[in-house]
Each structure stands twice: as structure tokens, then as C-alpha cells.
């Protein structure tokens, strides 16, 4: 089997997942008690108006028909009207998603760049103090409720020390960079807008750190254990017997394999991170998709809810696809799965 086949196959396998996901979310959204049409029209709307809106939204059709209508729309980029924003959910998401993306991506980057070295150091010094310290640190991180960690950071760093802003995505800068990617950091850089960039970075730091705490721990733990496991492998002994320098063994051979194992965790953690974003964005008033999603769920804005969950699920699937591809880069055996025993 060649690389391309592997990629195509792996890519195709996400399609049924995506369909399953949409069915799941869609069904869940429709069985929610409470009449979205009434909610949309405000508490004092007449029954007649509600009924009209129901028809407009197709809520009186059988569920499967609604589903196909919906999927038809999705294919054309129409995620339906949001009841709370009165806009197409797709438009809303285009606005909110970049903020979430920026936040989660930075958090993931922090997590990888802190977690992997931490895991390697721990693995190299197994059962000695750097290992214990790193493990303890990891334990603390996973156990911190993200919302609480965020609040504490705000309390200390923003309120007490005043080093960084507590909430929001960007300060009072003018002119604001023109939106091209929606990612403020990128946009402000593109526009050479230094104040905006600085402000956006400052605002990003606390929430990104908060979000990254748990993945740091996970990645460190995974890297550590796969590093140790790999270090125990026969071929490492073989290399050592041949007199290969320890540094080369550790960083060329062992790390590459153990990083591949950590990659799987990174993929899973991305999902976890998207979940935590739901609370962290609230804490930091981050104008992202998660706050929008929470609102949508609480307000039973079904289209928005389905849209948000779909996007979250899709990002998760995509990231995991990317992770699998990367996995193949680090561990070429994957490409040859099935080539020979």
C-alpha cells in the first residue's frame, strides 16, 4: 500500500464519521423539548405566528426530511437561521470560529512545546527528581478545573498584578486591523499593526495558558511513558552496544518514536481542548464560538447548536486526520501497514 492510498483511505473514513456526527447532533437538537419557534418570536408572540415560523423552519416535517433538508443546506454552506442572532449560522460561525481557533491553536502549541520537553526530561531521568517534579506538575495541571484556573490567573495576574488584561480579545486600539483571516494575530501582523498585535497577544496569553494546562500534562505524561517504553526496547540496547552516543539514541531514535505516540494524545486532546474552551471562553469573555455555542445550547437555538457542534466535531476529525498523517511521517510503519508482517 502506498502513501497516497493510505491518505485517501484515512480521509474517506472520516466521511461516515461526519455523517454519523451530523445525525447524532441533529437528532439531539430536534428532540430537545421546548419550541424553538416560540423562543424565536419572543415570549408574547401569538400562537399563529409561532405556527407560521414552525412551518417556515420546516419543523413540522418528519425528522428525516428535516435532516435531508438540513444536509442539503449544509452542502451549500447554509446552516440555517440562528434564532438568537437572526443570521445564518454559517455567517455567525465565520465570525466566531476564528477566535476559538486562534485560542485553541495557541493553547495546543503551548501544550506541545511545554509538554514534550517536560516528558522527555522526565523520561530521561526516570524516578529521579526531574521526573517526580514533572509528574507532580502534570498531576496538578490535569486536576485544575479550567474555569477555576482561569479565575485564579485573572485574580492574580490581571487583577492583583495588573500585568495582563483579564478579559476580551483585544484592547482599545485603533485602527483595528482589517479582517482577512479572522485571526487577530495574523491580521494585525499582515497589516503591520503593532499595537493591535501587542494587545491581541496580551489578551490571548491568559486564556491560552489556562486552556493548555491539562493538555500539557497529558502530553508530558504520554511522552514520558512512551519515551521510557521506547528506551527499553531491544534496538536501543543494540545501538548502545554498537557504541552509538547516548544523545543520538535519545533524540534521533527514541524521541521520534515516542513523539509519534504522543501525537495520538495530541489529537484526542484537541477535542478535549475544544470542550474546555467552552468554559474558558466564558471566563475570559473570549468572543469565540464556544461562548456562542453555550448561549445557543442554553437558549435552544437549534440551528446554532447543531452548527457549533458540527464545526467542533469537524475540527476534531480534521485534527485527528492531520495527526494520523503526521504519525505516518514520524513512524513510517503506518504507511506499510499490511505490506508485510
Amino acid at each position: 500500500m502506498g502513501h497516497r492510498n493510505y491518505l485517501i483511505k484515512r480521509g474517506l473514513s472520516t466521511i461516515p464519521m461526519f455523517v454519523g456526527l451530523s445525525v447524532l447532533i441533529f437528532t439531539l437538537a430536534r428532540v430537545i423539548p421546548g419550541r424553538p419557534a416560540r423562543l424565536a418570536l419572543g415570549p408574547r408572540a401569538s400562537d399563529e405566528a409561532v405556527q407560521n415560523l414552525r412551518e417556515q423552519m420546516g419543523l413540522d416535517k418528519p425528522l428525516w426530511e428535516q435532516y435531508f433538508d438540513y444536509v442539503g443546506g449544509v452542502i451549500q454552506g447554509d446552516l440555517g437561521q440562528s434564532l438568537i442572532s437572526n443570521r445564518n449560522v454559517a455567517t455567525d460561525l465565520m465570525e466566531y470560529f476564528p477566535a476559538t481557533f486562534e485560542l485553541t491553536t495557541l493553547a495546543m502549541i503551548i501544550a506541545v512545546f511545554v509538554g514534550v520537553p517536560l516528558g522527555v526530561v522526565a523520561g530521561q531521568h526516570k524516578d529521579r527528581w526531574p521526573d517526580n517534579a514533572s509528574r507532580l506538575f502534570s498531576f496538578f495541571n490535569v486536576s485544575l478545573p479550567p474555569f477555576w484556573a482561569g479565575i485564579l490567573l485573572q485574580l492574580v495576574i490581571a487583577f492583583q498584578l495588573g500585568w495582563l488584561p483579564a478579559t476580551g480579545r483585544v484592547g482599545d486600539v485603533s485602527p483595528m486591523p482589517i479582517e482577512t483571516t479572522g485571526l487577530l494575530l495574523v491580521d494585525s501582523l499582515l497589516a503591520f499593526n503593532v499595537p493591535a498585535f501587542v494587545s491581541a497577544t496580551q489578551h490571548l496569553i491568559l486564556p491560552a495558558i489556562t486552556l493548555s494546562l491539562a493538555p500539557i500534562a497529558d502530553i508530558a505524561r504520554m511522552t514520558r511513558s512512551s519515551f521510557i517504553e521506547e528506551y527499553d526496547k531491544d534496538y536501543v540496547e543494540g545501538l548502545r552496544t554498537h557504541g552509538i552516543p547516548e544523545r543520538l539514541i535519545a533524540y534521533k531514535y527514541v524521541l521520534r518514536r515516542s513523539f509519534a505516540s504522543s501525537l495520538t494524545i495530541i489529537g484526542l486532546d484537541y477535542g478535549f481542548l475544544l470542550g474546555s474552551a467552552f468554559v474558558v471562553e466564558i471566563v475570559f469573555s473570549w468572543p469565540g464560538m464556544a461562548s456562542y455555542g453555550v448561549e445557543a445550547i442554553l437558549q435552544k437555538d437549534i440551528n446554532a447548536m447543531v452548527g457549533v457542534t458540527l464545526v467542533v466535531g469537524a475540527s476534531f476529525l480534521l485534527v485527528n486526520f492531520a495527526v494520523d498523517v503526521l504519525y505516518g511521517v514520524f513512524d513510517p510503519r503506518v504507511w506499510h501497514d499490511g505490506d508485510s508482517q
Binding site: M1, N5, Y6, I8, K9, G338, S340
Partner: protein
């Protein structure tokens, strides 16, 4: 040979589908067992030898109905058991038992020895609880294990002891036919000898019939009545054990024999003249055309990569599968045999 065979296998096939990736609906197979036929007489030990991956285990387990055959038939006591299922199959299991290669993995590490040996009795609902306990004690004694081992977990036993437990379990329901899948290959020689002699004793005592799978020709020579030599899913040569060593006719058997490291100078004379061994077992997913052995064969000629030979009888009870003894395919061979090429002309492709 006289009387009716206990086990009779005809054209047995077992193919494993291979996932060839994109879009293809598993059209490709590993033909682990590809048309194997043999009979086993009651009370006899029939051995199958061959190199790793040639399909020995698959053959044994298919005969024991642990795997579904892809084709062919298996008859036990004259009755076709190829398609038994459900209750009838479970009933059959009392008569056919298997002892596995790796004693460590064939015992559940979380159950005590007593429970493991008792399991077949419980499954087939034999006797009362007290009777079963009694039987377990008896079985353990029979395989030379102290009875108090029943309270131990497998990991507190040595490899040889574990294999004895496995044997005790196999014997619990008084089977007639036992498939021994490399029962000693995971054991040290000093322990292997003990287990082999135990199996030998049991066979005499309980009137058992064995299908012994092994890769150790020296071992097989000493314990088997008849031997089948297997290569890439096919039996290459079948005969009684004495004949096989004294008069091997198949080139593969010759190579196998000549490669055995021996420990006694006397043995050397029993080996066929040394022949050059070349190549390795091909990828079973992509077997060579014609005779499966031809790329490695020191006697191959140009017909070998075109014609697939059949197992033919060269003398009474001695079958071989080689174009040098072509059987019904004689004409096809003649067509290809342009010249009397023996050594050269065939290269690995």
C-alpha cells in the same frame, strides 16, 4: 494401512482474506492451507512439519474445527464434520482437543489451575461438583503435577508445568483425537523431553490419536508414525517416518533434512547429502507460480514455474508433490521440459 481412518481430510483449504486497501473488496488471499489431503488412523501419530508460516497451525486448527474451512472436507469417524455448528459442534469438541504452542498464553492468567482444568467438565456438564474436583485431581496426577497446584495461578508455574496443565485440560473430557500444535517448541530441551514422553505414555494409555505439528524434524522422526512435510500451504511429501528420512524424494524434504544441525556424529550419516539451501519462504500473499517451492529448489527446471504439481503416490503410502514425479500432469511437464536442465535456468524473480 488397514481399517477406517479416524480423521480424513480432503482438499482442505483455508484462505485468509488480505485487505489490499482502497476500494478492493478483499479479492486477495493468503492461502494458508491450499488443498491438503491426508488420513489419520486411530491410535496413530501423524506429524506435520514445515517452516514458520507454512500453514501448520492453520491446518491443525481447521481440522479441529476452530477455524472454518474455506473448502474441502473433514471427516471424523467417517462422519463429515466440515459444516457442523451450534450444539453438534460443541458436542464434537469432546472428541477433538487441541494443545497449543505457547503454554503461557493458553492458560488464562486470572484463573487458578484447578478452574482451568475443570472448565471443560463444567462446559460439558460432566458429573457433580465433587466428581469434577476428584477428576481434576486425577488429571493433575496423571500429568505428573502435584495436586495442590490446583490452587495456583499459571504464572507461578514453569513452562513445562503449564504445558502439563494444558494437556490435563485437553484430556479432561476424554477426547479421541488431539491436535498438538508445537506443544514443546516454547520449552527447553530438557523439559521438552519430559513432555514428549508424557504425551507418548498418554497415547498408549488412553488410546489417543495425535496430529502433531512441529518444525523439529528430529523430534518428529522419533515420535510420529507418519509425517507430512508442508510448504506454503501444501503438503510436499507424506510418508511414514522411517521412509521419510531414509528415502526422501521431495527436494524440499532434502533441504530441510540437510539443514538440521545434529549433535551426534551418527546422525550425520542419516542426513541426505548436503544440498545448498537458498532463499527464504516467499511472501504467502504473493506465492510463486507453478510449484510453490521452485524458486528455492535445487532441482528446479523450467517447467517448475509453470506447472503446479500434484501430490502423487510414488510407492505404497509414500506421496510426493514434485514435477520430477509428475503423476497426472506428465504431458504438461513434458511440454515444458525442453532439455534436461536440473540446476540452472531458474532464478529468483
Amino acid at each position: 494401512m488397514s481399517g477406517d481412518p479416524l480423521v480424513s481430510v480432503r482438499n482442505l483449504e483455508k484462505y485468509y482474506p488480505v485487505d489490499t486497501g482502497l476500494f478492493s473488496r478483499t479479492e486477495s488471499y493468503v492461502k494458508a492451507v491450499d488443498g491438503v489431503s491426508f488420513d489419520i488412523m486411530p491410535g496413530e501419530t501423524f506429524a506435520v512439519v514445515g517452516e514458520s508460516g507454512c500453514g501448520k497451525t492453520t491446518l491443525g486448527k481447521t481440522v479441529a474445527r476452530l477455524y472454518e474451512a474455506t473448502g474441502g472436507t473433514i471427516a471424523f469417524e467417517g462422519q463429515d464434520i466440515t459444516d457442523l455448528d451450534g450444539k453438534a459442534l460443541r458436542q464434537l469438541r469432546r472428541d477433538i482437543q487441541v494443545v497449543y504452542q505457547d503454554p503461557s498464553s493458553s492458560l488464562n492468567p486470572r484463573r487458578r489451575i484447578g478452574a482451568i482444568v475443570k472448565e471443560p467438565l463444567a462446559v460439558h456438564d460432566v458429573g457433580t461438583k465433587a466428581e469434577r474436583d476428584e477428576r481434576v485431581a486425577e488429571l493433575l496426577r496423571r500429568v505428573d503435577l502435584p495436586v495442590e497446584f490446583r490452587h495456583r495461578y499459571p504464572n507461578a508455574l514453569s513452562g513445562g508445568q503449564k504445558q502439563r496443565v494444558a494437556i490435563a485440560r485437553a484430556l479432561a473430557v476424554e477426547p479421541k483425537f488431539v491436535v498438538l500444535d508445537e506443544p514443546t517448541s516454547a520449552l527447553d530441551v530438557s523439559v521438552q523431553a519430559k513432555v514428549i514422553s508424557l504425551l507418548d505414555d498418554l497415547q498408549d494409555e488412553l488410546d489417543l490419536t495425535y496430529l502433531l505439528i512441529s518444525h523439529d524434524l528430529s523430534l518428529v522422526k522419533n515420535v510420529a508414525d507418519r509425517i507430512g512435510v508442508m510448504y506454503l500451504g501444501n503438503l510436499m511429501e507424506v510418508t511414514d517416518s522411517r521412509t521419510l528420512f531414509e528415502n526422501p524424494v521431495n527436494p524440499y524434504t532434502e533441504q530441510l533434512l540437510s539443514a538440521i544441525p545434529v549433535v551426534e556424529s551418527g546422525e550425520q550419516s542419516l542426513k541426505p547429502p548436503s544440498v545448498e539451501v537458498r532463499g527464504e519462504t516467499p511472501d504467502p500473499k504473493d506465492p510463486p507460480s507453478g510449484c510453490p517451492f521452485h524458486p528455492r529448489c535445487h532441482r528446479a527446471f523450467d517447467a517448475c514455474d509453470a506447472v503446479d504439481p500434484e501430490l502423487v503416490e510414488v510407492e505404497d503410502g509414500h506421496q510426493t508433490r514434485c514435477l520430477h514425479d509428475p503423476g497426472p500432469k506428465a504431458e504438461a511437464v513434458a511440454e515444458h521440459r525442453s532439455d534436461d536442465v536440473t540446476q540452472e535456468g531458474v532464478t529468483e524473480d
